[in-house]
């Protein structure tokens, strides 16, 4: 009663081919952007729009002397710390309220009222409470990532197919088993998407936050270079910030490839 083996291209092979294709198209898009930038610099011919290579050369120099690395590190630490605190809390609370009507009745009204508010507007308030140091910036980014993940976790947990829940319950699964084998894996792709959006917003807000009363971070460095009228320096830091944002995306992509392999098949 052996079933026929269909023509199967192995998953690993397909994934690596897809990765090469993706890298190639990203490189092409990057080349177009740099080309347009070079063209614009030629046409505008002003010091505030230097040629891309002078910005990249400065980026290399600043990375080599360690001054950009210091500020990149300061920014990364703020985002990383906020993520580390927000992700487990928001995931747990969100998934739980998606599966429990009683908890949801308590959580959802707060989400409804607070989620649409632009968190950046609270920066002055947060700074009054937490001071001008890192904790205010970390808290602000925490709020953004937390809200995004909480809403996605709750909605995904609500949408788990009842048939899967029934199947597990009929096997005698405990509540914890249900979370581990059904609710969490079902929600994971949505959580990673939410993380992508959340990190994008977080980097933008971080830039704003770092322009206030800061002396470290890429946001501060960009504004500082601007006031020093050192445009290549300013662009170098903008590129560094862009690379940082890209790096965040990449990490989420890698996590998705590693933990959501089953989604490749459809």
């Amino acid at each position: 009663m052996k079933a026929p083996v269909h023509d199967v291209r192995f998953a690993a092979d397909r994934v690596s081919r897809r990765a090469i294709k993706k890298t190639a198209s990203l490189a092409a898009a990057l080349a177009v952007i740099i080309g347009l930038w070079a063209l614009a610099a030629l046409i505008v011919d002003k010091s505030f729009l230097p040629q891309p290579w002078s910005a990249f050369a400065r980026l290399g120099a600043r990375l080599a002397d360690g001054s950009l690395a210091l500020n990149l590190g300061a920014s990364a630490k703020r985002v990383g710390l906020a993520l580390l605190i927000a992700a487990p809390l928001a995931t747990t609370l969100g998934l739980a309220s998606g599966r429990s009507k009683r908890l949801d009745a308590f959580v959802s009204p707060f989400v409804y009222l607070l989620h649409p508010l632009p968190k950046i507007a609270f920066l002055p308030v947060i700074m009054l409470f937490l001071g001008l140091g890192d904790s205010a910036k970390v808290f602000l980014i925490f709020l953004i990532i937390f809200g995004q993940l909480l809403v996605s976790a709750r909605d995904a947990a609500r949408a788990v197919p009842p048939a899967l829940v029934d199947t597990l319950r009929a096997m005698g699964a405990s509540k914890l088993d249900l979370f581990r084998h059904a609710v969490f894996p079902y929600a994971l792709p949505s959580l990673l998407s939410a993380l992508r959006i959340g990190l994008g917003t977080a980097v933008a807000v971080l830039f704003m936050a770092e322009t206030f009363a800061s002396e470290t971070g890429l946001g501060w460095y960009i504004m500082d270079a601007w006031t020093r009228v050192d445009y290549p320096d300013m662009y170098a830091a903008i590129i560094a910030l862009a690379l940082f944002g890209l790096g965040c995306y990449l990490v989420v992509d890698i996590a998705e490839a590693a933990f959501c392999r089953w989604r490749d098949v459809d």
Binding site: A3, T167, A170, M171, G172
Partner: protein, 262 residues
């Protein structure tokens, strides 16, 4: 009496508009190793019967006994006991898309706290028996409907259950795959002598598989209107589907379902 015994079983759901009765007064005795089929139109409460026996709903009335032990006792006795004895297969197979075929088959064993080595030892022969050994590392999303149903069967039999409950397990398969799966079910079931209760809306499926056919109709609530026994001395094989004995039995089920015969 071993096997499955249902006594005056009934289920009411509570809704905001008040209690709604799904079915009532279901009596049945299914001997060990036999196959029972519940047939009836949509809304006659047949799936609810399965859900109660599976322990997913608490019966409002009556009593369920599996191999002489009451459902309440089975549930009170601890989480391990009931799941070891009863396996359930739902219409959409209930496979977890993020687990490989192998991991799906081993899931109930994992939930009962079995070690990895022992799980593998139990799942291997079942995968081989169902022709799934080459697909052990596949995700269900890459399998056809028939193959997925095989995985669901494998998962059920890996638990070595005394009772297998199936809720319209083959209804989303094409006619030929469906008949192949019926043969697969019969083969695996007879080797183990598992008691099977299957819900189906296919008259032919009930007539072919079942030793006992329970016919339900909607009478607000759904009720068991007749219990028919399959003709004696038959041998189930694809050839049997064309024999007059089979057609007569299927026609009788149809007449009772339509209310033309009691």
């Amino acid at each position: 009496m071993m096997g499955l015994r249902l006594e005056g079983l009934g289920l009411e759901y509570s809704t905001p508009e008040g209690p709604v009765s799904a079915f009532a007064g279901f009596d049945a005795e299914l001997g060990p190793g036999s196959i029972g089929a519940i047939v009836g139109p949509s809304g006659s409460g047949k799936s609810s019967v399965i859900r109660v026996i599976a322990g997913l709903e608490k019966p409002s009335r009556g009593h369920v006994e599996i191999d002489g032990i009451g459902l309440d006792e089975l549930q009170v006795a601890g989480t391990g006991s009931r799941r070891a004895r009863t396996a359930v297969i739902f219409q959409d197979y209930g496979l977890l898309p993020w687990k490989t075929v192998e991991a799906n088959v081993e899931l109930p064993l994992l939930l009962s706290g079995m070690k990895a080595k022992e799980r593998r030892r139990r799942s291997r022969p079942v995968l081989e028996e169902l022709g799934l050994e080459d697909f052990a590392r596949f995700y269900p999303g890459r399998l056809s409907g028939g193959m997925r149903q095989r995985v669901a069967l494998g998962r059920a039999f890996a638990q070595a259950p005394d009772l297998l409950l199936m809720d319209e397990p083959f209804s989303s398969l094409d006619e030929l795959t469906r008949e192949t799966m019926q043969e697969t079910l019969l083969e695996t079931q007879s080797r183990r002598d598992t008691t099977v209760l299957i819900v189906t809306h296919s008259i032919d499926e009930a007539a072919y598989l079942a030793d006992v056919v329970y016919i339900m109709r909607y009478h607000n609530p759904g009720r068991l209107v007749a219990t028919l026994r399959a003709p004696g001395g038959i041998e189930r094989s694809p050839a049997y589907r064309e024999e007059p004995t089979f057609r007569d039995f299927a026609n009788r089920i149809r007449r009772v379902l339509e209310g033309r015969e009691e």
